[in-house]
Symmetry: C2
Subunit: 206 residues, 2 copies
Amino acid sequence: MPERRSSDDLKEVIRDFRRDQVIDVARRLFGERGTTDVPMDEIAAAAGVARSTVYVYFANREELLRACLKGMHTHLIDAVAEAWEADAGPTQRLARIIEEMLARVDENPAFFRLALVTQGAPSSGAAAVGAELALISLDIARLLRTVVDDGMNSGQFRMIEPDLAVTLIGQQIYGAIAVRAAEPIPGPRAEAAAAAVEFILHGLAA
Amino acid sequence: MPERRSSDDLKEVIRDFRRDQVIDVARRLFGERGTTDVPMDEIAAAAGVARSTVYVYFANREELLRACLKGMHTHLIDAVAEAWEADAGPTQRLARIIEEMLARVDENPAFFRLALVTQGAPSSGAAAVGAELALISLDIARLLRTVVDDGMNSGQFRMIEPDLAVTLIGQQIYGAIAVRAAEPIPGPRAEAAAAAVEFILHGLAA
DNA sequence: CTATTGATCGGACAGAGTGTCCGATCATCT
DNA sequence: AGATGATCGGACACTCTGTCCGATCAATAG
């Protein structure tokens, strides 16, 4: 009985390992050349498996792409959540969220660019893929909402419609990510994050 | 001789008309279902021409897509430039730029979403298409630069690195556009624009 | 040690779309 | 009426997708 169990578990582990192997390769290739321009043949070859085997793990191209995004999602949320505990004030937390997200961009700019690109894209894969990204947005929005509420309660932020505040901050972050992902050689991350926070807090007026 | 000339001109006009006809249809279909999911057959059929005729006007799918973006580009720049003359102060001009851009989004959200999506996308078409969009960004950045310089010179904006200021404003606008393009039923445009301007000027701090 | 099982391979297959090409057709201008 | 040029429509080769299936190989059970 124990043998059987551990044997099954092993298979599971191997299976996941193989799966991740394909996902990693796909994420890299998708990032380099775009989702549409990489044939399944090539992904399979690069991952060292047969094309037909890829279709054992993923029903189709779209599901593979979704799996790529899913991994990034959990990674991002984990990183932000971890940093979350460390800091206390709303300003610090806001700074931390932005810095963590930019860090994620720096980790794999090509694929992050791709993720933004896929966002809201009315293309075949995107209906389902969009759902995956919507989850990320929701998670981030929830965190931002907490920041905004804290900021207003403590009198550090001025009083405006909280939803609007979240939208505005979100827009700024979205833009910052898009810009950074597009930059060939992004400048120092800390400065970029600090500039964004400063701007979000005080704007440009004299 | 004059006949010949006007005859040639007429051909030119007809040619352009046909071309625009295809572009309009393509823009709509691309907006509705994405660039990859609309076969050339369908575009041709919807435009009322043979598929082979489309290939007379456009070398390939990518060139057609680029033509779609090009039209939007000129339209956008014209609209902003026109409004530009009317207003004087940097704040008013900033507001006007944002409002005009959001108006463009409202005109054809589906296609605008698509344009954002294509932005920086490392996909087949996107290398050349990206160039087209880069031009738009450049034009807008130039306008924003003027706004920033005016604002600082007149003491209405605080003094910071102008390039940074342009980037930050650009990020907010980019995000605002993306968010609006993604909304199923966007709220009142004037309010959205006003909120963005207010945010850009004063931020969230108390 | 052998038989079974399950995963993987490799290749064939139909279907769909792309871009090219060319003869047939039609309208227009001479 | 005849020449000219745009358009049509369909055939073509090519590529990619997703499906399928027999062959192969390794680990495991008996």
